[in-house]
Symmetry: C2
Subunit: 415 residues, 2 copies
């Protein structure tokens, strides 16, 4: 590994960025990057990646969940298998790096090996779906890999009435054989490179962050009900204004989250009804999104915020009710593998910064079935899910250097 020149890594890093830009052109929507589960442009993404994988000495196939898989064989059999991957689908009008970068960097690492074989197979996997856009359910690709693509999932329909099963068949794959190529007992671990999609690394002036957990998430919908009434004829003291009540609560949500380290709580949607300027609001429906790496902390926060909503409603003569829409536990990355990643980052010459991912990633699904680790790359401006999303070439080189040290460390262990 010592033999790899910095110039070579820089060149491969720049090529990885260029490749992400090339793939971003393959879109359902001209002028933007929009690529949902097994849509037509995904065929061309697979074709480009297949070429690059083959050039790097990998054997390539597509499994029946639509995951693109490139295997770089170990120096001898039997051998265990290291997985490196991320997803190939995008949100509508996405950037060029969310997901795709993690796949392209897997291929780039194999290229940097320059034909050298390791003690373990390296399988680079481009998951077919992670964002949940087309079918309203995320992680289709990684769920299939870990054997969780059940009949209920396959029956799910997109807004056009096409099921996941039909979409897979339409892509020329066989949904009835989706479980055939799920993860084997040879799994050594999983490594995912991903852009941070947040501002923290930039603020800390760090290229990389080692993810130690993916935050758990609660999503709820609250409904505040008061009394719609005439804005001119109803004195302030006699109002039961659902919007002033909801506003008081939104302020309390913010204060509560600010007071607890690592907690984020967001009201991102609020619908006011009847919603006329001269009518006091009768009803407000508001979303609540709460995340923390510790499920106990998160559940306690949700309980507090709901109690707070009830207190505000009672004091104001309103009612409040809620529905729980999601309660997703936090997922820890594998401690041993993450420590190897720490060392790899340090040996590559970069500060080791542990962090929590506030967003969900394929790694949280894969972590159910094998040791998973995740490396964040700085997101300039914290921008993601937007055409302006980008990465710095030096950060990509840092990730590649760290990735090579990670492979080296695993090799040293002769796993």
């Amino acid at each position: 590994m010592v033999g790899i020149q910095a110039a070579r890594v820089s060149s491969v890093a720049q090529e990885a960025i260029d490749r992400c830009r090339v793939l971003a052109e393959l879109s359902e929507e001209p002028g933007f990057t929009t690529r949902t589960f097994l849509s037509e442009p995904m065929r061309r993404v697979h074709a480009r990646l297949r070429d690059w994988m083959v050039q790097a000495g990998m054997s390539v196939s597509t499994d029946n969940a639509g995951n693109l898989r490139g295997c770089y064989a170990a120096d001898s059999e039997p051998a265990r298998r290291l997985w490196i991957g991320s997803h190939l689908d995008t949100v509508p009008r996405a950037g060029a790096f969310d997901g795709v970068l993690g796949v392209v960097l897997g291929v780039a690492l194999v290229e940097l090996l320059a034909g050298r074989r390791m003690a373990f197979h390296i399988e680079v996997i481009g998951f077919s779906e992670e964002e949940g856009v087309r079918f309203g359910v995320p992680f289709i690709g990684s769920r299939a890999l870990v054997g969780d693509a059940d009949a209920e999932l396959l029956a799910r329909q997109d807004p056009a009435g096409t099921s996941i099963r039909e979409a897979i068949a339409g892509f020329g794959l066989d949904p009835s054989r989706i479980s055939e190529r799920q993860l084997g007992k040879d799994a050594l671990g999983y490594l995912e490179f991903h852009i941070e999609q947040g501002p923290l690394l930039e603020i800390l002036n760090l290229p990389l962050g080692v993810v130690e957990a993916i935050a758990g998430q609660s999503r709820l919908e609250l409904t505040f009900k008061g009394q719609a009434n005439h804005a001119g004829t109803t004195p302030m003291a006699l109002r039961r204004d659902a919007l002033t009540g909801a506003s008081e609560w939104i302020g309390a949500v913010e204060r509560d989250a600010c007071a607890v380290t690592g907690l984020v709580a967001t009201v991102g949607r609020a619908e006011v009804s009847p919603g006329a300027g001269n009518v006091i609001a009768g009803t407000v429906r508001a979303s609540l999104d709460v995340r923390h790496s510790d499920d106990v902390v998160r559940h306690a926060a949700v309980t507090r915020l709901l109690q707070c909503a009830e207190q505000i409603a009672t004091r104001r003569g309103l009612t409040v009710s809620w529905e729980r829409r999601l309660d997703q536990s936090a997922v820890a990355m594998d401690e041993d593998t993450t420590r190897i990643l720490d060392r790899a980052v340090a040996n590559a010459g970069f500060p080791v910064h542990r962090m929590i991912s506030g967003a969900g990633h394929d790694a949280m699904i894969v972590a159910r079935s094998m040791p998973a680790a995740m490396l964040f790359l700085r997101s300039p401006g914290g921008v993601s899910h937007h055409p302006d999303e980008t990465v710095l070439a030096a950060d990509v080189a840092a990730a590649l250097n760290s990735g090579m040290r990670f492979l080296e460390e695993l090799e040293t262990r002769r796993v």
Copy 2:
């Protein structure tokens, strides 16, 4: 007047309520009361009212603004003219009493005169339009009466592209002659009976309220802009959340209005964008409606609330901008005529309670051209603009008794 039996007034009051209920059946929408400017059901409203007016001894016509006018001649000529009226149009899915009651009570008063002629003409006017529903502009009928139905008003179009001029012609009237029957120099004054559309009289356990002014009104639209961002990856301290900023301001609006006697300030509409549960709000557009009987107080409040919005925005790294949509001055009722109304209410045996109307009424337009007075009837539950809107028969009788004393007082003055 002393000769009118309480039983007779009660009976006429009940009949007035019944008549309002009959007219409420005449609607553009089966099962609801919806009647906009010169729509087809207005013909049947005119026909029914015309019958009742003729029975009461009035001569009836429709002017070229679509106002129904019933004249009960004075005992001799020349004579001045007392106007009694309100509007015949409704909001969508309205109640049976908003507007219509004031016209029906004018007819009822003439009936109670039982053929006796006064020293002044009584002209009962059912304005064609007050709510502003069809053309987005209110007071078409009363503006025509006071000579303010200009070419710009007549050119206004409804969503179907029909102008007010065309709607008038389509009803069989002549819009080019709209100014011919505007208010003459003989005007003695204007009296409008109207439901309160608010809760105050009910809370005070009073049947009637004497309106001394119609509050001025400011309407604005504010736009708070921050930065839309990922709800999971953006720490609380790094957010520029337009919704938490707008919420803080909505709370401040409420506290400010509560602190100033007679001030009402309402945020009735708030649109959050992008409006997804897992995305921090980037933009909030919010309405602001501020009303007070004193324009100085109202303008000072608007200035304070905008300064407050700017302070909150600056502190939070947001921007805020606004558009002023309406700045309508307060309109005082005529002091002399209002004192006569006070005495009439007192002489009829009811407490005199002066109040401010928070809603606009035809009286505020008419007040530009003649002395206007206005009497509110209690709104049970404060409910209005809703099918549940109602009145108490005893309150209607109280209004009729007070109205008769009002006529008597004017007669005594031999105006």
